[in-house]
Subunit: 504 residues, 2 copies
Amino acid sequence: MAAVVSIDPRTGQAVEEVGQETTTAEVDRLCAAALAAAPDLEALGRAGRARLLRTLADALEDRREDVVAIADRETALGPVRLNGELTRTCYQLRLFAEVLDEGSYVEAAIDHAGDTPMGPRPDLRRMLVPIGPVAVFGASNFPLAFSVPGGDTASALAAGCPVIVKAHGSHPATSQLVFDILAAAGDKAGAPAGTLGLVHGVQAGADLVAHPAVRAVGFTGSVNGGRALLQIIERRPDPVPFFGELSSLNPVVVTPQAAAERGPAIGAELVGSFTLGGGQFCTKPGLAFVPAGPDGDAVVEAMAEAVRGAGAPVLLNEGISAAYGRISDDLAGAPGVEVLARGAEPDGAGFQAAPLLLATSAVELPQEVTEECFGPVSVVARYEGEAELLTALEAMPSSLTATVLRGRGETELPLAVSQQLRPRAGRLVYDAYPTGVAVSWAQHHGGPWPSTNSQHTSVGTTAIRRFLRPVTWQGAPAELLPPELTDDYRGIPRRIDGVLELPR
Amino acid sequence: MAAVVSIDPRTGQAVEEVGQETTTAEVDRLCAAALAAAPDLEALGRAGRARLLRTLADALEDRREDVVAIADRETALGPVRLNGELTRTCYQLRLFAEVLDEGSYVEAAIDHAGDTPMGPRPDLRRMLVPIGPVAVFGASNFPLAFSVPGGDTASALAAGCPVIVKAHGSHPATSQLVFDILAAAGDKAGAPAGTLGLVHGVQAGADLVAHPAVRAVGFTGSVNGGRALLQIIERRPDPVPFFGELSSLNPVVVTPQAAAERGPAIGAELVGSFTLGGGQFCTKPGLAFVPAGPDGDAVVEAMAEAVRGAGAPVLLNEGISAAYGRISDDLAGAPGVEVLARGAEPDGAGFQAAPLLLATSAVELPQEVTEECFGPVSVVARYEGEAELLTALEAMPSSLTATVLRGRGETELPLAVSQQLRPRAGRLVYDAYPTGVAVSWAQHHGGPWPSTNSQHTSVGTTAIRRFLRPVTWQGAPAELLPPELTDDYRGIPRRIDGVLELPR
């Protein structure tokens, strides 16, 4: 087995050997432990798991300095961003504790026995139960919030599912440290042994997805990575649910009125959004539609100026850096595409990349500009008039987000744009930029393929639904029912004979 | 293109040419029409679609006699069953109208802008929207309730999705008649052109699943059929959600106490359940665990007697009939399996099948008896004591249902059995038989692979969730929001800043 090595992207050099890649036998042992832990984790109940999640959040915060330092060394994302990401990660864990306290996520429903037009109906009681052990694939670009202690892990644990994380190769030391913190805190808080596991290495990830004990997979990564895991799942005797967050272009439309009112500000903000985190957000705006003419020119000039002033960010790893070079070159060389501006050139060390602003016409959008390119590049597509804009939007692939920047009080064109983009997006953003993804009850981070392969979110409270499945009890004696489905239980919202009732 | 022929299973003879198999060009035309209809169907709103569903139910009932007659000719299921199935089908349509009236299925949630531990949060509003045109595959065994006017169609239309049904080859005339009734009633009720489509033929089904306009697929059929459609979906540039209801063994456990208290009654009832509809229910109990000893013998003797007195049902089509002969022969010849009783032998006409009761030991269950065999056969597995029973249950595949028949007031063994079976079942049935599936709010008809490939139900109100996807509006002006997400709307349950509120 190969060694697992932590690389500093600022230098491109290995700085630490974290351990060995996880063997197939060890994956098997972790999966067996997770399967054995599942009934006890469920038996902790909603209150017990809420306590567990809060304990994990506290433990992470207690080690904030160490975690941020090692994550910064492995990702070069900087302490400000990483401190924010750790805060968000802890918030997620605590928010899922609230979800457990509130309890409507189990969708409890009771239909008492009675007569119907089809004859007598038996007593039926339905709620969601944990799906079983979950494999979570850490993402390259969020070493905390979408990795070992991230939203997939938080929502799966909340659901009552043991979790085995496949550490991303970009940040194995961060993954191992954070795992050790969570595992120790979990032990102390009474989590059953086997509740959390960690594996390193590509083969270990494949073994995990193929393992009979694993009942669902959460993944944030590339379309190719997602397709590869889907193929492993299809070869299982029992294909299991796969929840992939894959690829997203995130188109932005600047209306003529918006360009007229605040073109230069929009231009600067757009560059801020597409270069944030080195352009390595899944919600990075990869294509902006800007009107032709002087108002649009002002947007584009402000963008070009901001890009020319931008430093060369350090990308997360060698693969992303190489792909950025290759794909951004292809983009720049595509027919009808011109280079508007370049940021600082890499000074040679590590995985730096030059920010890049390209332009093309909305009338003949090259295929290349409708595909996601990870890194600090974005394309401006100039349009002449509404009809041209709306036609161009038909070529948009599905994305996590679609953004409209509109004028004060403007609704007509934004409505037409929204109607074109809603079938192609999970989140419609107005007068803001897509790169911030708040964690909340009404958030949705998803969308049709290629943004995800599912109808579920990977951010926000409803992410828990991915790791639950319904069970109906028919004619069950009260002693055999979960507490939430007994007649006298009043702690959570329930649907009784078709009528939703609040707790009392 | 080949002719589409209606065959009478009682004789095996073709009695009517229904038309021609649908061409690829015609599938394309239907899909384009469905895509064009989608925005208008959504724009009907919840109230408009509720009216549409009620109109469709009324139209079907108006033609009850014709529909039942032609369905009986094509399926040999008999007028009593088919009248019941039509009643259920109309009830389903009306129940989804109630779901629309009630409105919580859209999962409306509003998070107002505010401060959080991560900084300011924008205004976020989430609800579920229609996924787009849906392909529905009619099932062989329910020519109405799981076919053209069935639960998939009802729930997809309720969701706001145009539907194109692939008629099952066992009942093309029924499918065509019912489609014509629905399409005419839909037109009259103001459904947009393209809301409903029908295709005939295997190639047309494949074309449908591959078509870019189709955004989700609902399927009830075999594992092999489901796998074939999944492969088509995987080859799409944009794989879409697939909801398959595939295969189910439906194990039943008779506890020693139940056998002692009412063994002979249980035996007769079990045979009634596994021979119902010719043993062609997806919830047919295919394997029953019965205690060794005299009380269990009484169960088995009553089963054998009932089977010996059972007539030979007519199966739905030649393929099912041939598979039944082959698979039931394999089952009967499996190591450790003995034939306990046979029902009436076929008299030679059509697709008749002899009911068959087999026995084996729970200790060494042959692989063959853990797989579904469509048709009037069931296996009794005798067990000696609890430990042997609980160990045997570990070999159970996942099923739509798992049933426990227990003694009066008995809870200890039923609890242990339930704990073994809950991870392997979608519905836990106590002291009843799995073959009735009530349509209601708390029903669930699903389960882990191979019973389904998804975490959703295909029966009951929550079936609508399959054909919806979440969208979040961020910072949207009120004019651009769906009515359900505006501040003043009060018609449905909504979650406001994390708190569930009932309509007022």
